[in-house]
């Protein structure tokens, strides 16, 4: 019981703690946090994946 609740608190307290010194990139006048950059890159990837990955239509050719 004891270990279970400590384990639970550990999970509740997050596996990777993102608190602490942040990471940033500087491209000319552009400054971005790495976290935001990852989000933006993922957004672009998911957008193109959504367009490119074939979507299976249901019901075949006719009704």
């Amino acid at each position: 019981m004891q270990t279970l609740s400590t384990a639970l608190i550990q999970v509740l307290g997050s596996v990777f703690n993102l608190t602490g010194p942040g990471h940033y990139i500087n491209w000319g006048f552009i400054q971005l946090s790495v976290a935001n950059l990852i989000v933006i890159i993922l957004m672009v990837i998911v957008f193109f994946a959504a367009i490119l990955i074939p979507f299976r239509r249901h019901g075949g050719d006719d009704r």
Binding site: L12, V39, M43, F47, A50, I51, I53, F55, R57, R63
Partner: protein, 236 residues
């Protein structure tokens, strides 16, 4: 699925003497605009075949999770998540569902833009979408101000200058925690909910926008566009 009710079947009798009844008129207008088959269709045009179409629903689902976790935070009050690890967990759920909602919403926006999904009397759908986006930004912003931590202090003291410069600071005081909490948990969610409902009903009303004519075909069809008699509704 059937639902049993004892309701007599003649409650919507549509008798001539009821013709000028407001209730009856409203029902007729609503049913005419959005009959059940248009509100909950089980088929879509054959061209609706892309993953890009799921991002509206994904945005809505994320909004549902945002609201649900927000309700849990509300039940326990604004201090809870700072002192309880369960509370902090729920706060994290709330934050990440917001990030997911914006993630899905931006892709949804891009998708609708590149499909020019405003064509054919669908401009109101586009505009309500942008309004939903702007209101969501405002809702997230007031959420950050409601956290009662360093973030809130920083964001409010930074943001006050821009908002004050527009004159809105006279009423909308970002340094007033109580006011911002009210905007975040009452006013803005209510408005976002209403706008999203209108947005989605507009989609059902108009149907999913058809593709552009293929490049080979002449884009300026010989068919003139008729406004008024031939098209239903009053938007032009």
């Amino acid at each position: 699925m059937t639902i049993d009710t004892d309701l007599p079947s003649n409650v919507a009798a549509d008798r001539p003497e009821d013709a000028d009844q407001l209730t009856a008129k409203l029902r007729h207008a609503a049913v005419a605009a959005l009959p059940p088959e248009r509100l909950m269709p089980d088929r879509q045009p054959a061209y609706v075949a892309s993953w890009i179409y799921v991002f509206g629903i994904l945005t809505m689902s994320a909004l549902a999770v945002v609201i649900l976790t927000g309700i849990v935070l509300s039940i326990f009050g604004p201090l809870w998540w700072h002192v309880s690890s369960t509370g902090h967990f729920v706060n994290s759920l709330h934050l990440w569902s917001v990030e997911l909602m914006f993630f899905a919403m931006v892709i949804h926006l891009w998708g609708k833009f590149f499909m020019a999904a405003w064509r054919g009397r669908r401009r109101a759908t586009w505009i309500t979408g942008i309004v939903a986006f702007v209101l969501s930004v405002g809702t997230a912003f007031t959420g950050y101000l409601s956290q009662q931590n360093f973030d809130s202090q920083w964001i409010s003291t930074q943001a006050k200058d821009g908002i004050n410069s527009t004159g809105a600071g006279a009423v909308f005081n970002v340094l007033n925690f109580g006011q911002m909490l009210m905007w975040h948990i009452v006013l803005l969610p209510l408005i976002v909910g209403v706008i999203v409902a209108i947005h989605v009903l507009m989609v059902r009303l108009r149907g999913v926008v058809p593709p552009f004519a293929p490049p080979g075909e002449p884009v300026t069809s010989t068919e003139p566009v008729t406004i008024g008699a031939a098209t239903e509704g009053d938007e032009s």
